[in-house]
Every structure is written in structure tokens, then in C-alpha cells.
């Protein structure tokens, strides 16, 4: 515990003059310091693989089918109820694929829980952040708007696996 000292003003300080000059010198010095503000639309904030932007769906190597098997884990993990999935049977080896996969970007809070929950590497956070349209319906993204080739998200996937590397000691259950 330390008792803080209350300052008593000296005679000079009571005159208020030194404070005026100190504040003026502060302002003048600030004029020559580099600017910290940013001209936003022209100079957007730099994004990298750490940025948690809007979630996107990855495509398989064939560039046609989604990696998603519509298990519904991301839907269950979503705290904002932004994800809607309808799945159906398919002839392909994975047996199930999404018929409808919608993310309501107006509800999405970019928390990244879907990415953490997905067992098939099918959904990852991209670095896309900007969101604007003329109607609310246009911001409910469907598969066509969400799908991305795996190469576009590769940086984020690598980063995710790197930070997700835990429990390095061998355990009894695995």
C-alpha cells in the first residue's frame, strides 16, 4: 500500500502561466510529430493472416466442391445464430454436402468460433472486412458468395494451425 501525495500548488502555479506555456509547447511539439490518423477509404488498415475478418468456405482441390460436409458444428458454435445449413445426401465419397449454406453477415460478429469448431477445415476467417450493400437481403451470403479456393485462405489456415498447436506432450487418449 502506498499513500499518494496530494500536490499543493506553488505560487507560480497559482498564476496559471507556466501551465499555459507547457500546454502550448505540447501542442507545438505535436505539430511536428508523425500523424497517427488514417485517411480511411483511401488508406485501409493493413490486414494479415491474424486478422479475423468474415468467414469464408474453402473449396476442395478440384475447385468445384466445398470441403463442408454439413455436420452443423459451426451452426451449433455460432453465438449470434448467423449460420444456417441444410444438408443432403450426395454420391461423392463424403456422403453429405450442404444444399444451402447461408451466413447472415449482419448478424456475424467475427468471433471465429465456427473456424475453431469445424472438423473438416471447411470454414476459415478471411481478411475481408468491409461490408456494405443497399439491402439487408443482399448481405445474407450464400455458397456462391462464400466459397473461396483454398489457396486464397492458405495464409490464415497455416496461421491457425500454428497457434492451435498445443498439448504437445503425448496423452493417454490419443
Amino acid at each position: 500500500m502506498v499513500i499518494i501525495k496530494r500536490k499543493e500548488l506553488s505560487f507560480i502555479e497559482k498564476l496559471y502561466l507556466p501551465q499555459i506555456f507547457q500546454a502550448l509547447s505540447h501542442s507545438f511539439r505535436a505539430m511536428f510529430q508523425p500523424r497517427i490518423t488514417r485517411q480511411y477509404p483511401e488508406e485501409p488498415l493493413p490486414t494479415n493472416e491474424v486478422t479475423r475478418g468474415q468467414p469464408r468456405l474453402t473449396l476442395l482441390e478440384d475447385g468445384e466442391h466445398l470441403a463442408c460436409v454439413s455436420c452443423g458444428l459451426c451452426e451449433a458454435a455460432c453465438p449470434a445464430y448467423a449460420i444456417t445449413i441444410d444438408g443432403h445426401e450426395t454420391e461423392r465419397f463424403i456422403e453429405r454436402e450442404p444444399e444451402r449454406f447461408e451466413i447472415d453477415m449482419l448478424r456475424c460478429i467475427l468471433c471465429g468460433f465456427c473456424e475453431e469448431a469445424c472438423p473438416k477445415d471447411a470454414i476459415f476467417m478471411s481478411d475481408e472486412l468491409e461490408l456494405a450493400d443497399f439491402s439487408r437481403a443482399a448481405l445474407v451470403y450464400d455458397i456462391d458468395k462464400l466459397k473461396r479456393p483454398r489457396e486464397e485462405l492458405q495464409g490464415r489456415i497455416d496461421y491457425f494451425y500454428q497457434v492451435n498447436d498445443r498439448w504437445r506432450t503425448p496423452s493417454s487418449t490419443s
Binding site: M1, V2, I3, I4, K5, R6, K7, L9, S10, E13, K14, L15, Y16, P18, Q19, Q22, A23, H26, S27, A30, I36, V50, T51, R52, C71, L73, A76, A77, C78, P79, A80, I109, L110, C111, G112, F113, E116, A117, P119, D121, M125, F160, Y161, V163, N164, D165, R166, W167, R168, T169, S171, T173, S174
Partner: protein, 415 residues
Amino acid sequence: MTTQLFEYAPSSPDSLASTERDDPVHGELMKLNMGPQHPATHGVLQLKIDLDGETMHNIDPVVGFLHRGKEKTCESLGWAKFFPHTDRLDYVQPLMNNIGYALTLEQLAQLEVPERGQIIRVLLMEISRIAAHLIYLGTTAIDLGAVSIFFGTFKERERIYSILDAYTGHRMNNSYVRIGGVFADVDDQVEGMMREFLNSIPASIDGWEGMLTGNRIWYDRNRNVGTITKEQALAWALTGPNLRGAGVALDLRKSQPYSGYEDYDFDIPVGTVGDCYDRYLVRIEEMRQSVLIALQALERLRTTRGGEFLAEDRRYVLPPKDKVHSSMEELIFQFKIVTDLRLPRGEAYHPIESSKGELGFFCVSDGTSSPVRCHIRAPGLYNVQAIPAIAEGRLFSDMVAIIGSLDFVMGEVDR
């Protein structure tokens, strides 16, 4: 220390009016609504004030304009999905709220956080505390007319945002804390940014203190304004810097240490008078102490490099992704935890020392995937309810200083 009940007796408008009716100046009270859109009320707080000239009587704070039903949301959402909602309680220090909630769940689950996880949490908490106190300093100063301080504090806060952006990927609303630790390890780049920030912030604090502490205007507007005695502060359940400003050395980091705070070397600043000036000095000193704690935590981070930051417990913590792909067991755990995370039956309350005071989450579990009851002990609400006692009989212009120095965030008060 014995707590004695402080009786607050508001003066009724009738009695005031009748006794002073003959006086042409006094006698008629004017009702004034300050807020909920007033810029100096720091959010959507409404204050109904009876003004007798410039003197305030019968101050009635009205809260609830930002009520979003967070406690009820927690009861319907479930344990893990509530983390993003805790971000939005006290939105100037989201990670502190995350950690407070996580500690409650860990107490309920009897889960030990690994050492490195605790160190990272302490580091994040202290950085959040600095960020929150910077908001206090900037907004209070701009309310009392010192605009350049506001720009200075927000410039430094911007650097904290950059650090958190590099660590969590978000500038605000981070939700990066999980049951059992934190989501990611602090890497070298983030560590370097933190070290650089922590080494440069004391000079900035000295600069602001030099401009404010001896400033005649700041001095006159804060000194002996909004005085609250030790007994009053305890009776109104004030915590945090507001209580310590009144002279009670109560800090949960010292009295009930959590996350390994007992191993860190720091002091609790305590005031003597309990006015706005003392609360300001206490917060300035707390920022310096936070820097010391955070630097110690960085040192420990260096010695525990490569350690675990997330508890290994397959009942509550998601297994690593690559094992989910290869092992059936881990896949089952992944499904079980995401869809139906159950905590043991029981109840838990874990208070932490947030920048505003005692932030506590009280959760009752019946063994299912969501709490039966979740109560949030938000320090801001207790600070707001002390306003009538603190400001009764003061001049109206003091109200801005009092609101600023009590330092509450309405997102947390109304929740």
C-alpha cells in the same frame, strides 16, 4: 474496519420550497434532465436533478437505457457461447471481462490453468487496465476542458489496439480467452510490441500528469469536489479506484489473489480525502503499477517459452485441430464440447479486480449445458448509485467532474 450504515436522506422539494419561499431567488426548484444523450454522461445515463439556482438536490440516476438482457442471454446461450457477449459489457476492456467469466467457469469446473496461460492472462489484464484508465483520463479531461490530453490518451490507446490486433486479430471485442487458458500463445512479434509500448508509456503518463496535476483549472475543478468518506464508500459498496481514493486499501489482486497475482511485486495506491482529485491520482498511479506488473509478466513469459497456455482437459477444452482430423476419439470430443459443453453441478462466484472495481460473475449450474442463473456483479452500477450521495448539495458544474471521476461504462451498468 467496522462498516457503519450511511443514511442518505434526500431533501424533499416541498420542504425546500416552503422554507425559502419568501426568498425571491431561492424557493423554486427547476427540474433538469441531464442525459441520456448528454455527452458528459459517458453513455446513456439519465440524471434527474432538482436545481435550486445552481445547487443540486434530489439527484435521481436512471439506468437501463442500454439494457440488453445479458444475464438472461447467458442462461439461454450456454457456457462457451457467452464469451463474445462478455466483451460487450465493459467495452473499453473486453479481455478483462473475458477473463473474469473464464475464471468463474474454471472455478465451477475445478480446472487449473497452466502457468503460461496465467501469465498471458495477467499481461492482458494489465494492458486492458491501462487502456481503460486511458479512456478515463481522456474523457474526464475533455469534459473539464483539456482537449489535448484526450488526443494524447487516444493516441496511446491506438497502440494498445494495434497490439491486440496483432495478437487476437480484432481491435475491440477480442473474445480470445477460453475455458482453461487463452486461445493463442503470445509470439515474439507481439511480445516486442508490448515491451515497446510498456517502456514508452510511463513517459507519456508523466507528460499528462505534468499538464494536469499542477494545473490551476484541473486543481480547482477536482479538489474537494465529490468527496466521499471511507464509511460512505464502504456503505455504498464502491470498489476499485473509487474506494481506494477514499482511503480503503482494498484490492482483490492483493486480498484474494487469482491468476498468480500473489507472485507479482506491486503497490496499491491509496488516497486520503476521497475527492475527484484523489481518484484521479490513484488511477494515474495504478497505470504505473500496471506497467510494472506487465513488465514482470513479460519477463516470466520469456522464462516459460514453449509452455502450455491452454489446460489439457478433454471435457472442457477443444482438442488441437490436426488431432481432430486423425483421431476418432478427438473428433468425438470436438463434437461433444461444441454442441453440449457441460459444467458440473454447483455454483461459483469469482471476483476480479477490473479497472472499475470488483467485477464478478456468479453462475449456478445444474449440470446441463447452460447456467440456471448467471449474475454479473458490475462495479459500474454501484458507482452510479452513489452519485446522489456524492453530489447532493454541490454545484451543477461539479456533476461533470463527479461523473467523470467515478468512471463507469454504461454497457456494464445496464448489461
